[in-house]
């Protein structure tokens, strides 16, 4: 019954492309890449939604400074939270459903799976060019449920995020296997936190090593989407919930981030022509 109602609503019917941001490793910048990709795509005139399926550690609301917003109901389901007046970016996250921001969501798999199903079926996204699905680290309940629930909507594929060091690349290798096993196309690998340029003396230090992401892409035969350097202006923007793409076009991370979006746009336009 419920499924029939969801199908009738077909809330993802107006979404052209769905892409997932994945990593086996935590804290490598999945939410950062999701956020900046959404902002870059908006600057190219696209309408973008972000679905945050990290249920135990949702970061997306704060990165857009809408952590105090609430989700409302409409006939078609949940109304996502819009980050701007023009409604060009909309978000859905468990962060909007918590009474207190510090509430821990202490749930085992089945409850997480139920909410993810609801997130996929019941959010009234309306017309979107892109829906970006930000995920927690790993290859477990959230990932299996998300991929299963999205399958009928034929997602475009996944962007994998890693940091350069071997310990992180090792986990992302496992995520590649997850994509293969679940039939999810890998759009490419992003190497984040790749080198830090000292603002005082311009010396570049590879704090978390260098090149691991590119090597992995080569090894796995998937596209390499670029290296994003460690950039304090980027971390600061995310802390303050500001639009980095708008405000810091001269920063070191800007060219890398916009190039990722451009490659996604190019891939899509090639695919449709």
């Amino acid at each position: 019954m419920e499924e029939a109602a969801a199908a009738e609503r077909n809330n993802l019917g107006g979404v052209r492309y769905i892409l997932l941001v994945l990593s086996g490793k935590g804290g490598v910048g999945k939410s950062t890449i999701s956020t900046e990709l959404a902002l870059s795509l908006r600057h190219s005139g696209k309408k973008v939604g972000i679905l945050d399926v990290d249920l135990c550690g949702p970061s997306i609301p704060r990165m857009f400074k809408v952590q105090d917003s609430d989700v409302h109901q409409c006939d078609a389901g949940w109304v996502p939270v819009f980050v701007d007046q023009e409604k060009s970016i909309s978000l859905m996250s468990i962060g909007f459903l918590l009474e207190k921001p510090d509430d821990a969501v202490v749930w085992r798999g089945p409850k997480k799976n139920a909410l993810i199903k609801q997130f996929v079926a019941d959010v009234a996204w309306g017309e979107l060019d892109f829906l970006i699905v930000d995920t927690p680290p790993g290859t477990s309940d959230e990932h299996i449920s998300t991929v299963e629930a999205l399958r009928p909507y034929k997602p475009l594929g996944a962007i994998l995020v890693t940091t350069p060091q071997a310990v992180s690349v090792g986990d992302v290798r496992r995520e590649l296997t997850f994509c293969k096993k679940t039939g999810l196309r890998v759009l490419g690998i992003v190497e984040n936190m790749s080198g830090f340029v000292c603002p005082h003396c311009s010396e570049c230090t590879n704090i978390f090593s260098k090149g691991g992401g590119e090597e992995l892409a080569k090894h796995a035969g998937v596209p390499f989407l670029g290296s994003v350097p460690l950039d304090p202006q980027l971390s600061q923007s995310l802390e303050d919930g500001r639009d980095f793409i708008q405000e810091f076009p001269k920063s070191s991370a800007f060219p890398a981030l916009t190039r990722i979006a451009q490659q996604i746009l190019d891939g899509v336009s090639q695919g449709s022509s």
Binding site: G24, K25, G26, G27, V28, L55, C56, G57, S59, R62, L97, E99, P101, D102, D103, A104, V105, V106, W107, R108, G109, P110, K111, P136, P137, G138, T139, S140, D141, H143, I144, Q165, A166, V167, S168, G170, D171, R173, R174, E175, L176, T177, F178, K181, F196, C198, P199, H200, C201, E203, T205, N206, I207, F208, S209, P232, S235, Q236, L238, E239
Partner: protein, 289 residues
């Protein structure tokens, strides 16, 4: 909307776990709501630090089932677990430092563990029940990020024996702290004492000009302010040092590779405090001896 699932376990099972873990004196769980903040790095260094006193037996258990980092960090990649009459044998780095991880059960570095909760919980139980840990002074448990199956299970299974407390790892920025506050609430909810908080990646000193940069800025006061607000101890701050990651990638102990660095001395202080905490919180029966 939080809910703690699964309180009870069959009495026989609890007794079995208690029997198996009887030889474990102290248990420290390393937690964080946030990924990639340095839980495994800290767990590995805590294990090395405690085991530096050769008279002490240390066990390191990695319950990050989908993203095990401990084998690589301990220089044990490619090792396999052996079966003995009394169960699985941990893999030993030193005579007095044994390690167990799902990584030792995989046949290739590309193997993904695509498991839902119940299977993960089953393996965690096996790690406690079927591994021949022997007499152990410190059992250190490294966890994945979050407050879900792995965390509930390890706390539930270890409640059969005893948990001294949790060390919570964070980085300075609010995006990380907001997840860590959830983890602290988790500890309160499941009644695990908090030994304290470690702030990792706290400032970076350029190796060339020696000036400091805040790569992950503490915009809301960092771990220090959070600890004040939530009334938990701050065990220390560890600066970002490129040599830490390098040592981890090579499977070496940063503490013995770069012993004179500010980061190593900070880690040593923190390890000392964890040890003091555990000494003061000895199991009841030992106090009477």
């Amino acid at each position: 909307m939080a809910e703690v699932a699964g309180g009870g376990q069959p009495e026989a099972e609890a007794a079995e776990l208690r029997e198996r873990l009887r030889g474990v004196k102290h248990t420290v769980v390393v937690l964080s709501g946030k990924g990639g903040v340095g839980k495994s790095t800290f767990s590995a260094l805590l294990a090395h630090g405690l085991a530096a006193d050769g008279g002490r037996q240390v066990a390191l258990l990695d319950v990050d089932i989908c993203g095990p980092s401990i084998p690589k960090m301990m220089g044990l990649e490619g090792e396999q677990v052996h079966q003995s009459g009394s169960g699985w044998s941990p893999v030993y780095v030193e005579e007095n430092l044994g390690v167990m991880s799902v990584g030792f059960l995989l046949s290739s570095p590309d193997d993904a563990v695509i498991w839902r909760g119940p299977k993960k919980n089953g393996l965690i139980k096996q790690f406690l029940r079927d591994v021949d840990w022997g007499e152990v002074d410190y059992l250190i448990v490294d966890t994945p990020p979050g407050t879900s199956d792995e965390h509930l299970s390890i706390v539930q299974y270890l409640s059969a024996s005893h948990i001294d407390g949790a060390v919570i790892i964070t980085t300075p920025q609010e995006v990380s702290l907001q997840d860590v506050r959830k983890e602290i609430n988790f500890c309160h909810k499941v009644k695990v004492p908090i030994i304290g908080v470690v702030e990792n990646m706290s400032g970076f000193i350029c190796p060339k000009c020696k000036k400091e940069s805040q790569i992950f800025p503490p915009t809301t006061g960092g771990a220090e302010k959070m600890c004040q607000n939530l009334n938990v101890s701050l065990l220390g701050k560890v600066p970002l040092d490129p040599q830490i990651g390098r040592s981890c990638d090579r499977g070496q102990s940063f503490l013995s590779e770069v012993p004179d660095s500010p980061a190593a001395s900070s880690y040593r202080n923190i390890i000392q405090r964890v040890q003091e905490y555990c000494d003061q919180h000895r199991p009841q029966e030992e106090k009477t001896i």
